[in-house]
Amino acid sequence: MRSVLLDAPVWNHAAVPPWFAQSQQTAWETFSRLPLPSRRDEAWRFADLKLLALEGYADEDSAVAAPAALALLEQSAARLVFRNGHFQAAESHRPSGIQVLTLAEALASHGDRLQAVLQVPETGLGSAKFAALHHAHLRDAVVIIIPAGQEIEQPIEIVHLLQGPSAAVFPRTLILTEAKAKVAVLEQHLGESEGGLSIGAAQLIAGEGSTLHYTLLNRLGAGSKSMHFSTVSAGRDAQLRHSLFNLGSGWARTECRSLLEGPGSRSEMFSVSLAAGGQEIDQRTLQDHLSPHSYSDLLYKNVLFDTSRTIFAGLIKVDEGAHGTDAYQKCRNLLLSDDCEANSMPGLEINADQVKCSHGSTTGRIAEEELFYFESRGIPRLQATRLIAVGFAQEVVAKVGHPAVEALISQAVEARFAEQEG
């Protein structure tokens, strides 16, 4: 078995441009050179570094099981299904009018244009080593390019299935929207077995006046580990929305860096995490305002059961010259046991004038009086708790903005809470 950590990847670089081959080679060297995060690392504060033991995952084709029923959108503009990183043409559909490409296709047709972006997806939020690992192992990717003025009505759907306890996948999605283009993408990470490793990345680049909505649903198995790095950049008057739903994985770390590069740009970052058992969900964010009159809003919610832990560390950074910035950041934790632990580290760094910023975090339990009200109507305590917690999560689901996507997420949330109830 070739270990994803110890053995250099075996690349098939025959058909790729030299720059891409080089980027993977360099990424592997970077990964090997960089040290593991340490206790003193601010970007890993509160994290249980023991969970970073990523030995035992294999860099080779695991047997791909027969297709199981997937929860899919009824209607999608395009769908790409990957099993253990392998594109499944038979389960996918890609109409001709939309540029939804695999890595090989994208490199062949848009190689020059992609050179600057198809590099190690660095968030600057602590996982440079693992972002390099991800890039080094990349075999495929989804590249979506929406040309100027094109509005895609239905969402585009990407599904990654992780099969087998020692399988490792490295999902990569790059979405470029040109001027005034519009698209919504739903990416699902699904686990058909308990274990596995997923280290993924999304790069969202929204051109002038375009609208790009991206939603990632993690429903990997409870024994799996996952990391996901997003870099988001919004051009002039662009509108970006990045929504995360962490309903799976025993350990999950997400990093999301949002750059408000163009004046008048907007970025929204939403997240719901359900942590249970001994799960740890670790989320780090940056809202970086580089241009005047840009707007960003972040709402991260965590629901914690059992002995689970969550970490939220977020920074709003308003650079010199980014006057007229509106930036908001809120983390809300709902504790459903006495033994769980929610860590929040909201942060602000303002170097410009005339800015409106607020940040904060709240941590609470369900009030006894609220539960009493439910029980007094005959609703058992456990169900009351679920209804309240689902309601807490639904506020974020309702912000995704596409009815079919919201319905799918909503069902996943309900199902996950129902599992919790047993």
Binding site: E368, E369, E370, F372, Y373, F374, E375, S376, R377, G378, I379, P380, R381, Q383, A384, L387, I388, V390, G391, F392, Q394, E395
Partner: protein, 247 residues
Amino acid sequence: MKLEIKDLHVSIGDREILKGLTLDLPKGEVHAIMGPNGSGKSTLSKVLAGHEDYTVTSGSVLMDGIDLLAMPIDQRSRAGFFLAFQYPMEIPGVSNANFLRAALQARLPKGKPIDAVAFYKQLYAKMDLLKMDRSFTARSVNEGFSGGEKKRNEILQMAMLEPTYAVLDETDSGLDIDALKIVSDGVNAMRGPDRGILLITHYQRLLDYIKPDVVHVMADGQIIKSGGADLALELEERGYDWLTKAA
């Protein structure tokens, strides 16, 4: 068949609030409790519902012969007890429809899903009766509701859950003149041989709309006098002094 409260003593911490309260509410009747502020009316209602702040030190409550106080809170409701709260809770994030649906679902055998079509049909019918706008189904339970809307919502819940014994704690407080009539009609529609209703109120006016079979006066944790509907009129005229002094 009755709700039978016998020599009930209830404390909060060291303080005794109900001091040997005895009251029978037979099925098919409507009783009213009136009494000064702080006399323990809401305490009684919450003890019956099972609120954990209150300690029953002695006495008993039987609902059709079954020990109500021995049951967990949710089971009391499913067994047929209902309390319309004086101050209903706001539940952000849970819609009125989902709340009621969960309450009805909890009454079905495990694994049997509720009939959604029938549920909404029934819900809309009851809402029409109480002249509640359909938009209330999607709104979070009581969140941002006006005082009167919350009270109406409590009666909607009662209408949906069809309890055997219902205690309505100052449901009339905060209702405007029209709403009082509508809510009273709603309560009257639920009167019948299979249901006992206990109205807690400060105002005779409610009893003009919902004619009680018996009126009780409560003071300092006890029932100090019971009588017919006329007793309410007398209280309206004379206040409580003449009774509390005599007692």
